[in-house]
């Protein structure tokens, strides 16, 4: 569990230099390019999404992994049809979604709706 957590925070750390790199390129007068898409992990542990808020470049893929003995879901807020909607994630199950559009995307677990998270796509 803690190993996976480290993986998640590592992935978030990797996204940061990518963003800085794009900014630096622009400053140097290169043709402006968006940050490269990243692959980022979110760990579900003890009825919480970690990290609960995530900022990623457009095109990034987020993978949620359930480390609880209780099932969870990952479902975007708002009316149907949902932007993304996992099935029941049992222990160690994964769900992956790629964010192609910029914006702020809130989501929750429909089984335990107190569990909430946000993905900010830039």
């Amino acid at each position: 569990m803690s190993a996976l957590r480290r993986t998640a925070s590592l992935a978030a750390t990797v996204a940061l230099p990518l963003l800085l790199g794009a900014g630096a390129g622009s400053w140097l007068g290169w043709h402006s390019v968006a940050a490269a898409p990243a692959a980022v992990d979110v760990v579900i542990d003890n009825f919480a999404f970690g990290p609960a808020t995530l900022t990623v470049p457009r095109g990034s893929t987020v993978t949620w992994t359930n480390k609880d003995d209780d099932p969870h879901t990952v479902v975007s807020d708002g009316a149907d049809p949902k932007l993304f909607k996992s099935g029941a994630l049992d222990t160690d199950d994964h769900f992956t979604f790629t964010f192609n559009d910029a914006g702020t995307f809130k989501y929750f677990c429909t089984i335990h709706p107190r569990m909430q998270g946000t993905v900010i796509v830039q």
């Binding site: 003890n46 009825f47 609880d68 003995d69 209780d70 099932p71 879901t73 807020d77 909607k85 099935g87 029941a88 049992d90 222990t91 809130k106 929750f108 429909t110 089984i111 335990h112 709706p113 107190r114 909430q116």
Partner: protein, 311 residues
């Protein structure tokens, strides 16, 4: 010895009963109810029905659960139904989380095991029974009572008005359990014609009061439902979800959560713990699982007796 045995039979304390068991050789003891001796089995004695009308509740069977907290929830459900069988209740309520993951094979296995009880059984869904389909597959299998589009219903038996509510679908981000305006309006209409002396039994999966907001143990709009129960002389609310027995009394309204038959959970808001399955030593498991007997005595009220599977 014979005289002493008789007095023990009339007031059978558990310890005396055990002594009696050791001293005697009979597999059946006799109890005197209204002057008429009736036999009962030793295993069921401490848990025998006492009311004019007795029914039982089981909850959170979680068929399909496989983790360490209980690798065999089917086995412990069978144990629970054996305990129910010793009481011979008039009916059985299942307050939800029949399955662990809303899977067809879990519903099938649960239905096969529940048949072993041979009892009229009324169900309401838990949030584990309605994952991603708002209860459609659950109601197809266990919804013979379904009288409304949303799945809530009522019926009368043994002089009691039973109301089964659904507070686990259309849950909202950041919220707790949810009844919704349609169900609350239906409840108002359903209770309207009932006299204040009618015993009311409401059953729903999630607690109809907030046991722990942080752990999601409550129902957002329970208050208007409870308010409607306050005019009755006896109103009992039976819930599951939190896998332990916790009671709340509001005037004549008695609310009580039930044991699971599958695995325990930590006491609400225990530091360092969470609302998930709690692993206990294998030899202790049955002492934290259980069933509930409900005895209705005319003009006196309703008593709840919770018994563990180890008792």
């Amino acid at each position: 010895m014979a005289v002493e045995m008789k007095s023990q039979q009339l007031h059978p304390g558990r310890r005396k009963l055990l002594k009696c068991m050791m001293a005697g050789s009979a597999g059946v003891l006799w109890s005197v109810v209204g002057g008429v001796p009736t036999p009962f089995s030793l295993a069921g004695e401490a848990f025998a029905a006492t009311g004019d009308f007795t029914f039982m509740q089981i909850s959170d069977t979680h068929i399909g659960f496989k983790a360490a907290a209980n690798p065999d929830p089917a086995g412990t459900l069978k144990d629970a139904l054996a305990k129910v069988g010793t009481v011979k209740p008039s009916l059985l309520l299942h307050t939800g989380d029949v399955s662990h993951l809303t899977k067809p094979e879990e519903f099938e296995m649960a239905a096969q095991i529940m048949k072993l009880a041979g009892l009229e059984t009324h169900y309401v869904p838990g949030e584990h029974d309605t994952i991603n389909d708002n209860g459609k597959s659950f109601f197809e299998r266990f919804g013979h009572d379904k009288r409304t589009e949303g799945g809530w219903y009522s019926f009368d038996q043994g002089g009691v008005h039973f109301v089964g509510l659904v507070n686990v679908v259309n849950l909202r981000p950041g919220g707790l359990g949810y009844l919704g305006p349609d169900q609350l309006a239906w409840l108002t209409a359903d209770l309207k014609g009932k006299t204040a002396s009618t015993p009311i039994v409401v059953f729903a999966h999630m607690p109809l009061w907030t046991v722990s907001a942080a752990w999601g143990w409550g129902t957002d709009d329970a208050a208007p439902a409870i308010e409607q129960l306050k005019r009755f002389g006896s109103a009992t609310v039976l819930n599951g979800h939190i896998h332990q027995v916790i009671q709340k009394v509001e005037g004549n309204v008695k609310l009580q959560t039930a044991y699971s038959t599958a695995f325990p959970q930590a006491a609400p808001d225990t530091p360092g713990a969470g609302p998930g399955p709690l692993k206990v030593a294998a030899e202790q498991l049955k002492s934290v699982l259980g069933v509930r007997r409900v005895d209705v005595v005319r003009d006196k009220g309703v008593t709840l007796t919770d018994a563990t599977l180890a008792a």
